[in-house]
């Protein structure tokens, strides 16, 4: 699976939009890009997944350019509660049997301040 690279940390203020970029130069044709959020002392929580262009849900947007070698997680109007580690993962395409092993990188520690 493609290795991912993302910033170790980012700082922001409440109300701002935060964009976290992840590079995955060796992504394969049937790979998906997936993002997780992890708060201290909790398990990771799935945020969003996409294959190309743009995906939006109630939490975030995911932008993927045509070459798919990078992706950007966009968090609109962050609050203090968005302070967490954000992981970008490349995941092999849908498998039968209901599961797919995940490879976590180092993640980006986002700190939101007042």
């Amino acid at each position: 699976l493609a290795k991912t690279t993302q910033p170790i940390s980012m700082d922001s203020y409440e109300g701002q939009e935060v964009n976290i970029t992840c590079s995955h130069n060796n992504i394969a044709t049937n790979d998906y890009i997936t993002w997780y959020q992890q708060f201290p002392s909790q398990g990771p929580r799935f945020i969003i997944q996409g294959y190309k262009t743009k995906v939006t849900n109630e939490v975030a947007s995911l932008f993927i350019p045509a070459d798919r070698k990078s992706s950007t997680l966009s968090l609109p109007r962050v609050s203090l509660s968005d302070t967490a580690v954000y992981y970008c993962l490349v995941v092999r395409g849908r498998l039968t049997g209901g599961g797919n092993k995940l490879t976590f990188g180092t993640g980006t520690q986002l700190k939101v301040e007042l």
């Binding site: 799935f46 992981y87 995941v91 599961g99 092993k101 490879t103 976590f104």
Partner: protein, 116 residues
């Protein structure tokens, strides 16, 4: 979504002993995964547990050290055997979603293990 619980939530153990961690899911799932997260680090997959078959271990993890049981579609256990301080970590189980999108998994709250 699936709700996952783990027992114990935390434990302090002496070196040389073993601890069995339980993972319970509120619905039937085909595949369950066990991860380890050392303090301040990212998650590392230990093994994949399929019901009715042997677990599949990742490089660097062996069955003698981390035996796994998967007796049914809602339950799994991970045993950390002959513990040493290097085994101090958070251990998490997760489940995939049958027919769901490929990267979406639900994680348990984790078991914080300290080995003295």
């Amino acid at each position: 979504s699936a709700v996952i619980s783990q027992k114990p939530s935390r434990d302090i153990c002496q070196r040389g002993t073993s601890l069995t961690i339980q993972c319970q899911v509120d619905s039937q799932v085909t595949m369950m995964f066990w991860y380890r997260q050392q303090p301040g680090q990212s998650l590392t997959l230990i093994a994949t547990a399929n019901q009715g078959s042997e677990a599949t271990y990742e490089s660097g993890f062996v069955i003698d050290k981390f035996p796994i049981s998967r007796p049914n579609l809602t339950f799994s256990t991970l045993t950390v055997s002959n513990m040493s301080p290097e085994d101090s970590s958070i251990y998490l189980c997760s489940v995939g979603v049958a027919g769901g999108i490929s990267g979406e998994q639900y994680f348990g709250p984790g078991t914080r293990l300290t080995v003295t």
